[in-house]
Amino acid sequence: MNIVINNFSFQPIYEQIVIQIKENIMNGTLKEDTLLPSVRTLAKDLRVSMLTVKKAYDELEAAGFIITVHGKGSFVTNANQELILEEKKKEVEQLLEQAVRKGRSCGMDRQELQELYQLILEDLT
């Protein structure tokens, strides 16, 4: 598993951990049923506080990426394929939204945007 923390970033450290573990799950580095390091161990290895790691694990669990079995540890769940797809779709939506906003801010109208979108779709097929 790869996790690299940027202590100078404005992004909260627990969020950085969440995103990077998700990435590890998405790209297959962390497979289903893999046991994640314990909260204490990961905190020690990343040199962050345990509460930070716990917060990250709680969020991953709430999102369904991992499951914590009391006394055993946290495991990567099997429901990931759908979750990953969902996450990716969300990302696409956001990117499209950004594109539309940017287009509007420089005066592109609906038709222009649609034409451009069609053009790109055709270009890439």
């Binding site: 100078f8 909260p12 450290i13 204490r40 020690k44 040199r47 962050v48 506080s49 345990m50 930070t52």
Partner: protein, 283 residues
């Protein structure tokens, strides 16, 4: 071990301590504040070295004065300016520790001494400040104590030894069931180690927050006078006036980054927060 310091008060001539701290099992609690703020007094009260005028200290639900000798072995300690006689060698100290603490792990302790290059046969008075600091920190972690009370354990240590010893402290927490109260003037040491931070000033707790909230949510705005006038003041905690700008401490840095993109924002360290909380003006 769970430790609950409940409104302890202690009156000295010019100084009044009035402080509450919770140290839950499994947590590392950082204790910061300027010299003379009351850190050492609080720690001494926890150890039973000074008795508070009011309030009580509960360890796992029981008043600490009732603890037996055996139970007191569950506490490990590093205090500034105290320790073994300078005429002892580390080997002598080992013999004493064996008598004091039934679970003293001599072999492991000797291994650690070797790792941190502490000579066994040299008198402690010949040790450098750093060597002494290493010795006392290693000793506090040598008998499975469930609560460590560490008063500036890293003072006088160079950056490399400091980080090695901080890693040792992290290792020490791994088995679980343990908790630590640690003070330091090098707050960088505390940022990656502690789960919560208490800031004490003039005997009172001025701030108590999870470390990751301090580092993620707190921040500084550097606004011009004009920008400051128009600023939403609700989430500002302290301000400091500079020659050209007003610097403000907030616990909602995201809010200001989103709503005032023109104003310069910076992340803060625990040192910055201490400075603002003590030297800054209330908004």
């Amino acid at each position: 071990m769970n430790l609950d310091v409940n409104h302890i008060k202690k009156q000295y001539r010019e100084f009044q301590l009035d402080c509450s701290i919770q140290i839950p099992e499994g947590r590392i609690i950082g204790f910061v504040g300027p010299n003379g703020a009351g850190k050492s007094t609080t720690m001494k009260a926890i150890l039973g070295l000074c008795s508070p005028d009011e309030g009580q200290i509960l360890a796992d639900g029981r008043v600490i004065e009732e603890w037996s000798k055996k139970e007191r072995e569950k506490i490990g300690v590093v205090l500034a300016d105290s320790g073994f006689s300078g005429y002892y060698t580390v080997s002598d100290v080992c013999r004493i520790m064996k008598k004091f603490y039934s679970s003293f792990h001599e072999e492991e302790f000797r291994k650690q001494c070797k790792h941190f290059q502490l000579p066994m046969q040299k008198q402690i008075k010949e040790f450098s400040t750093g060597m002494r600091a290493k010795l006392y920190l290693l000793l506090s972690m040598s008998y499975d104590a469930e609560l460590l009370v560490l008063d500036e354990p890293t003072a006088g240590l160079d950056v490399i030894s400091r980080n090695e010893l901080l890693d040792r402290i992290r290792d020490y927490m791994e088995p679980g069931g343990r908790s630590i109260l640690i003070s330091s003037h090098i707050s960088g040491d505390l940022e990656g180690l502690c789960d919560e931070i208490y800031l004490i000033y003039e005997g009172k707790i001025l701030l108590h927050e999870d470390t990751d909230r301090l580092l993620d949510r707190y921040g500084v705005l550097k606004a011009t006078e004009q920008q400051y006038e128009k600023l939403e003041k609700k989430y500002l905690i302290r301000k400091m006036k500079g020659t050209y700008e007003v610097d403000c401490l907030t616990d909602q840095i995201r809010y200001y980054r989103e709503n005032y993109p023109d104003i310069i924002t910076e992340k803060v360290s625990i040192d910055d927060i201490i400075m603002y909380m003590i030297r800054g003006d209330r908004v």
